[in-house]
Amino acid sequence: MANAAQKAHAAPESRGTPLIEMRDMSIAFGGIKAVDHATVDLYPGEVMGLLGHNGAGKSTLIKILSGAYRRDHGQIFINGEEVTINNPRDAKALGIETIYQTLALADNVDAAANLYLGRELKTRFGTLDDVAMEAECRKVMHRLNPNFRRFKEPVMKLSGGQRQSVAIARAIHFNARILIMDEPTAALGPQETAQVGELIKQLKAEGIGIFLISHDLHDVFDLADRLAVMKNGKVVGTAKTSDVDHDEVLGMIIAGKCPPGAIPGPGALSMAN
């Protein structure tokens, strides 16, 4: 077992410095330790699946990375250099884009305004260039959702899938280096889900690192290169998707039992149990 673990551990090392490394992250809300000394890393062109129960701390962990929460403890390294992320603006400046579970759309403005929210295109007088923004928005949305026509309506009037494609469009439109997807296919039909899968493969080929949070094991096994399982805020273990099977991953999620193919983390059940 130690052998297998070493092998799995040795493989990423050979690929050089990780694109992102979150080391020893902790955050507590009141007395609840939402994330408890968790360490995850991500390499360029890799999809890292984050799995775990509801409330296991996956979303909280990536919200630290995207700047929505401030960490209590821990360090974040991008390409080996330590960075400070205190708010979403810092994260965006570092090329970290996020698709939130709640989508985080301003419901009362239209798709183009949401796409460029915080980064509006301006005319030379400093006013909003709505024409250019809508034209760009049409291009991006055409790539993601060719049937989308409702550019003039506030996004609250759109369907769940359409809203989701607006959120995805916003994340991929600004040349992200690191993409965080928190249940990106939750509101999508089978066809759109397949499209998002294609998109992930395409982005991966461009060398973008992707954190994929999902409850769907099939999705994770299809799309992710490695996976990390969290339980009660702690990392149970990380593994290459090729080294573990569905049942072993379920065991990690439910019982915190680390299979031989995975590198155990602080949250793994000790062997004595």
Binding site: S66, A68, N87, P88, R89, K92, T98, Y100, T102, L103, A104, L105, A106, D107, N108, V109, A113, N114, L117, G118, R119, E120, K122, G126, T127, L128, M156, K157, R170
Partner: protein
Amino acid sequence: MNSYPWPFKLIENYAKANNVPIPAGVENPDGAAICMAAEKVVRCSEGLIYYTGYSVPVIVALTVGLAMTFIATRTPFGRYVYAIGGNPEASELAGIDTKMMIVKVFALMGALVGISSIISSARLNAATNALGLFNELYVIAAAVIGGTSLAGGVGTIYGAMLGALLMQSIISGMSLLNLPTAYQSIVVGVVLVIAVWLDQLYSRRVN
């Protein structure tokens, strides 16, 4: 634009008080005096035309309205104000410095209140430290009548201005009708409640 002749009754009183002769006229069959003014038969005091010029506060209000409409619809600042009204958390996550934006919005409101207090004190030729006190209710009512949502993120400048016009028409009208102040407050309150109810009804239908 907003320069108009005085109403005939007003100018009749003014002429009497200041010993301005009213042009002589002939009598109508029903007894009212008829005057000639520029080849036209008019009622007597209209023969005496008196303009007081432009009303500067109206011009100021229209200018401010145009400027604010520009800020609200054509600038990133206005876009952020709407976005924060719609979903403050999403706006923060989108990279807008929401705390700074709220400070700026309050500063802008302070500047606008400054303009209105200049007009108010110029009109009364006197100022107290409680000049605009108790106007808040009228202001909120005007904004809601004009289509501003109390939940945030919806509304227009010209809507609020039309709302203010309507609100002030109601209040001035009630004063001219000699309605007691207590009843005036009741009417204002009822109008506000109806406006808020319609706003709720509308937003429920939208969702």
